[in-house]
């Protein structure tokens, strides 16, 4: 089943220059799709379009048979619930004035009226927070701390916990490991893989690190200068017909 269908997406910031140029992609249920490319290739712009924080200039994003542009309030709210995100910089993604537990509870409290959770149970705020912290392998006590008291890797785990707390269908991971050091990077990648196994959501994993993408994803898409150059199954990464740029990327790692 297709979770999201992106067709001929275009986005431009300066007239005559497309940051995202005619990109078509579909994301299947339960898969991780990797999106690789260097800085400035348009991968984050694409993510921002998918999150609905950027207006698109052409093409469509179809979720649940409805193009995002035509979605009414209720449909857009449903979209917002089901498409969550984890950004590169966890410090900027957490409100410095809120305790970790309050940041974690926020999405649930926003959506609790329409929400039916399958994997988590909400009996009390405290219990829910502890459940989430446990899933991302953090000690329970962290709920009462503030973001600045946590390490980068811990903060990123918190933003992951927050993203999965309302059991979305798709999580857009925009360079989630880029600001972490190697050991935390490896650990976060493993956590993401195991969460996907238990919760079954899809990932769009955006990174410039082809090796990290290879580790987590089943399918890999390569972007350059706003265009989608290549998309392939992980097993086919070594294939004579791969795009020259993909081959260059492979040679780096």
């Amino acid at each position: 089943m297709t979770v999201m269908e992106i067709s001929n997406l275009k986005k431009s910031y300066t007239p005559g220059k497309l940051a995202v140029n005619d990109v078509s992609l579909s994301i299947q249920q339960g898969e991780s799709l990797g999106l690789v490319g260097e800085s400035g290739c348009g991968k984050s712009t694409l993510a921002r379009c998918l999150l609905g924080v950027e207006k698109i200039d052409g093409g469509s994003i179809i979720y649940n048979n409805t193009p995002l542009a035509n979605a009414n309030r209720k449909e857009f709210r449903d979209y917002r619930r089901n498409v969550q995100t984890v950004f590169q910089n966890p410090t900027a993604a957490l409100n410095p004035k809120l305790k970790i537990k309050d940041s974690l509870l926020d999405p649930y409290l926003q959506f609790q009226r329409e929400l039916e959770l399958e994997h988590f149970t909400f009996s009390s705020k405290q219990g829910f927070v502890e459940q989430l912290l446990e899933v991302v392998e953090l000690p329970k006590e962290l709920g009462d701390r503030y973001p600045h008291e946590l390490s980068g890797g811990q903060k990123q785990r918190v933003t992951i916990a927050r993203a999965i707390s309302i059991e979305p269908k798709l999580i857009i991971l925009d360079e989630p490991t880029a600001s972490l050091d190697v050991l935390s990077q490896g650990a976060v990648l493993e956590l993401l893989a195991s969460l996907q196994k238990t919760l079954g959501m899809s990932y769009l994993f955006i990174s410039h690190d082809l090796a990290a993408v290879y580790q987590l994803c089943q399918r890999i898409a390569v972007m350059k200068d706003g265009e989608l150059l290549d998309i392939f199954q992980k097993e086919d990464i070594y294939d004579y017909s791969r795009h020259a740029y993909t081959k260059e990327l492979i040679s780096i790692f």
Partner: protein, 262 residues
């Protein structure tokens, strides 16, 4: 041997950040120092050039050309930095003053180090810019008008202007994407072979080291826990932590990599 560090300790009050580290860097060698955030690798690199903050204290010795440069007076050290030892940093924006053009930075650098003739300075700047693969007109730009990769190239051009004996690169490619990082690394390698300067390359990413380094030292909690030739550390790491570092960085399977080269 170009630089020899003996029992270097950096402390902050009672706390020891770098703990009796000894290492030697040979002429023209690529020496990689690998470790996690907080392991003390940056403090070690800053101690070498007397760049430590006022509440940090360095003891031990760093010998360069037979004298302990930790004890050099400030004026002498100012001369040494740039001419003998130069730095490039992770934060390329922080390496430049935002309201000066790249050219103004380079002019100032050369003037401070006594290059008096204007014409000579101009030529040196032009050559330096070309050597790092940047278009010469870019020299008139302000830092924010260049991309990350371009700025890091400019900071390499600046660092190598006076042909130092050793270049200290502190996480110089960490803030760049892997494609730009790769290009910067191969540029450094090319310049190293051309100028014969040694590189002390500080990184947390094992993969950067695997291709370019001659020697590797692994640092943890302020101590060097293992060091040796690249071959030895990569193929026969002794310390469990070294193994952990190697495993943590994802790599593509070898089979694929080798096949893609042929």
């Amino acid at each position: 041997m170009i630089l020899s560090i003996n029992d270097l300790t950096v402390s902050h009050g009672e706390k020891t950040i770098v703990d009796r580290v000894s290492l030697t860097i040979d002429k023209g060698e690529w020496f990689a120092l690998v470790g996690q955030s907080g392991s003390g690798k940056t403090m070690l690199s800053q101690a070498i050039g007397q760049l430590l903050g006022p509440n940090l204290r360095a003891s031990g010795s760093v010998s360069y050309q037979g004298s302990n440069i930790l004890e050099h007076p400030k004026t002498e050290m100012n001369q040494l930095r740039g001419k003998a030892i130069s730095y490039i940093f992770q934060d390329y924006h922080g390496s430049f003053t935002p309201f000066l053009t790249i050219q103004q930075h380079m002019e100032e650098y050369l003037q401070t180090h006594g290059v008096k003739e204007k014409k000579k300075r101009k030529n040196m700047i032009k050559e330096a810019f070309e050597s790092v693969g940047l278009d010469v007109p870019l020299v008139k730009r302000y830092p924010f008008q260049l991309s990350g990769g371009q700025l890091q190239r400019a900071s390499i051009a600046l660092a190598l202007l006076l042909e130092p004996d050793i270049l200290i690169a502190d996480e110089a490619t960490t803030a760049l994407d892997s494609v730009s990082a790769h290009r910067i690394l191969s540029l450094l390698q090319e310049l190293q072979q051309k100028t014969g300067c040694a590189i002390l390359f500080i990184t947390h990413d094992w993969r950067h080291v695997a291709r370019y380094a001659d020697k590797i030292a692994v640092m943890k909690d302020g101590k060097i826990i293992e060091s040796g030739s690249k071959q030895k550390l990569i193929h026969q790491p002794e310390h469990a932590y070294t193994k952990q570092l190697i495993q943590a960085a994802p790599t593509l399977p070898m089979r694929i990599k080798e096949a893609s080269k042929s």
